[in-house]
């Protein structure tokens, strides 16, 4: 499994709801070991793209391969082996509200590896919870008792429960204060480096894009119009991209990132 190989391959994807076409002839590659940011205006189908890749949304046509295997039109049974290898953080955290944080983390482990004993599950949940930066006592709290930022971290702990190779994050920093958002970015980056993750990151947060993304894919006009580093995208003459990165907010984020020597690999 060489770094740089394609881990997600989307070809000719078409999604529509009724008459409304969301995606048409959409192509996208995600390479192993990178953090790919996915941006696009509201309603361009960023979440729909993620849902198609993880098999929650049946596309009208097109092929999607994850780890070299198709996720379209597959039996639930066949998808299990793939599902063990990815983790997903949904927008609102999607924590199970009747379970404590520790129990939430244990759900995927119990589901896929029923032989593991409770003592070991408790130990695993405890270090996963602290690894995502939550205080240890948060493990026994219920989701309703957590703040927004803590819910995201708890959701991340659950997404990482099976030590996945691939991590999907749907707007992880939305609704967090700037300090919390920056801390979450840092956490994502540090976990990505530690665990060798590939991250598919849907975001609106320009700071996140500058700080942690290796490449950025831009969704517009029902397809991915460009993929590349931010400087590469800036060199393109597409009005939406220019507006997005060179708008007032984009410029501030760029200054911030370069001021403190952000990732910005070029």
């Amino acid at each position: 499994m060489a770094p740089g190989e394609t881990i997600i391959q989307v070809r000719g994807l078409r999604n529509c709801f009724g008459d409304q076409v969301i995606h048409d002839l959409l192509d996208l590659d995600v390479r192993r070991g990178e953090i790919l940011g996915v941006v696009g205006g509201s309603g361009t189908g960023k979440s729909v793209l993620m849902r198609s890749i993880i098999g929650l949304q049946q596309p009208q046509s097109g092929t999607i391969e994850v780890f070299g295997e198709s996720t379209v039109d597959r039996d639930e049974k066949d998808l299990i082996e793939i599902r063990k290898r990815w983790g997903i953080l949904f927008q609102g955290g999607a924590l199970f509200s009747t379970l404590t944080v520790a129990e939430n983390v244990q759900v995927p482990i119990k589901e896929f590896y029923p032989a593991i004993g409770q003592a070991m599950l408790d130990g695993i949940a405890a270090y996963k919870v602290t690894m995502t930066g939550l205080p240890p006592e948060a493990a026994f709290k219920y989701p309703a008792e957590l703040s927004g930022g803590m819910k995201k971290r708890a959701g991340l702990a659950r997404a990482l429960a099976l030590d996945p190779e691939l991590l999907f994050l749907d707007e992880p920093t939305a609704g967090l204060d700037p300090i919390g958002a920056a801390a979450f970015d840092e956490l994502t980056l540090s976990l990505q480096r530690t665990l060798g993750l590939t991250v598919f990151l849907i975001t609106h947060d320009l700071d996140s894009l500058h700080a942690i993304c290796d490449r950025v894919a831009v969704l517009a006009d029902r397809r991915v119009i460009a993929v590349g580093t931010i400087p590469e995208l800036l060199a393109l003459d597409h009005p939406w991209i220019q507006e997005y990165f060179n708008g007032p907010r984009g410029r501030v984020a760029a200054v911030g990132a370069h001021g403190e020597g952000g990732r910005g690999r070029t």
Binding site: S97, G123, I124, A126, A139, A144, D163
Partner: protein, 369 residues
């Protein structure tokens, strides 16, 4: 796939454990149990022959090293980083799991909690009734604030849409009363009293009681769920900040709808139950409809209708207020909505039956028998 995780033991130099294979969650097999059962000294843990290690593997090795005071060797740069991260997370003092209490203490605690909750709920419900009264008074003083469309819509949802199911239920209940009554009365040779049985029971008690239960299940629960969801999505808060009184906008139309509709539905239910009973009398007891109606006219006192119809608005108010009150109590998460909806129905039915008992005593005391 790669090999399962395994280890070999080398007792020279204080004991060395050499791990091989894939130290990951999917390839652990019975390794944790074997490590747990391990005895004797371990001075070094050699990971140089490990193919792949994930956080679970790192955590297991870290725990083992801590227990035996062993040193971990043979890590590459990447795995060293992973190992250190996991070790630092695992070394933070773990929070103690909240201590489980003894069964007796827990029982006492639960009884106490339930008592306090019941007391608070009754107190809150009384307060809510008061607030509803105030809202009605305000609407009466400023009729322009009355929400006509919302109320008319509730009339339809609570009343008209319920006609089908309440009619069917009442028809069947009428048949059951008549059939069971006829069987018993036949032993004394007075089957003809089945007519009075069906008529009086339907009008005084069963028509209104069964309708109240049905409306509590249909509309009381819907009120709790609607208002509860509106609380969760902060619609209720948004209304308040715009100066809209939630009591006037949400509670008053619903309460009016149930208070007005329940007597009508109850009377309708009693009529259908009598028709059901009449059909059975005709088929099984050979009492033709004309004779049935004639006997009802001569034998049924008018007060029976009043007994039924007078109770209904009170039941309606209880159902609506319990539903709205529980909806307003929703806080936190979606599970609360379900919980509060259930509570609203249980509370409404319970209170309706308690009040019905009071009414029964009251009406016999004033001679409406």
């Amino acid at each position: 796939m790669s090999a399962f995780a395994d280890f070999a033991r080398d007792d020279s130099g204080g004991g060395t454990l050499r791990f091989t294979g894939d130290l990951s969650l999917a390839r652990l097999g019975d390794l944790p149990d074997r490590l747990e059962a391990l005895s004797g000294d371990v001075a070094r843990i050699d990971l140089s022959a490990v193919d792949r290690m994930d956080t679970v593997g790192a955590w297991l090795v870290h725990r083992l090293a801590l227990r035996h005071g062993a040193e971990v060797e043979g890590l590459g740069a990447d795995s060293r980083h992973l190992f250190d991260q996991v070790a630092s997370a695992a070394d933070r003092p773990a929070a103690p799991r909240p201590a489980p209490q003894g069964a007796f203490v827990r029982l006492l605690g639960e009884v106490g909690d339930a008592t306090i909750t019941a007391g608070r709920t009754m107190y809150g419900l009384l307060g809510f009734m008061g607030a509803t009264m105030v809202a009605f008074w305000n609407v009466a003083r400023h009729p322009s604030r009355f929400r006509f469309h919302a109320t008319a819509h509730r009339f339809e949802v609570v009343g008209v849409s319920a006609l089908g199911i309440i009619g069917l239920m009442s028809f069947l209940i009428g048949i059951v009363i008549a059939q069971q009554g006829a069987v018993q009365l036949r032993q004394f040779g007075v089957e003809i009293y089945t007519v009075e049985l069906v008529g009086r029971l339907s009008l005084r008690e069963l028509g209104i009681l069964m309708t109240a239960i049905m409306v509590a299940g249909r509309s009381g629960s819907a009120f709790a769920a609607q208002i509860g969801t509106m609380k969760l999505t902060e619609e209720v808060d948004a209304m308040r900040t715009m100066g809209v009184s939630t009591m006037e906008a949400l509670v008053v139309p619903r309460t009016i709808a149930v208070v007005v509709m329940l007597p009508l539905l109850g009377f309708y239910s009693a009529l259908i139950a009598i028709i059901g009973g009449g059909v059975l009398c005709w088929v099984q007891l050979d009492i033709p409809p004309v004779a049935f109606v004639e006997r009802l006219r001569t034998e049924l006192p008018m007060v029976d209708i009043w007994v039924g119809v007078l109770k209904a608005p009170v039941f309606g108010a209880i159902i609506a207020i319990a539903g709205c009150f529980q909806g307003m109590q929703v806080e936190g998460d979606a599970e609360q909505v379900g919980h509060r909806t259930t509570t609203a129905v249980v509370q409404a039915i319970f209170l309706v039956i308690v009040l019905d008992a009071f009414f029964a005593v009251f009406f016999s005391e004033i001679g409406w028998i």
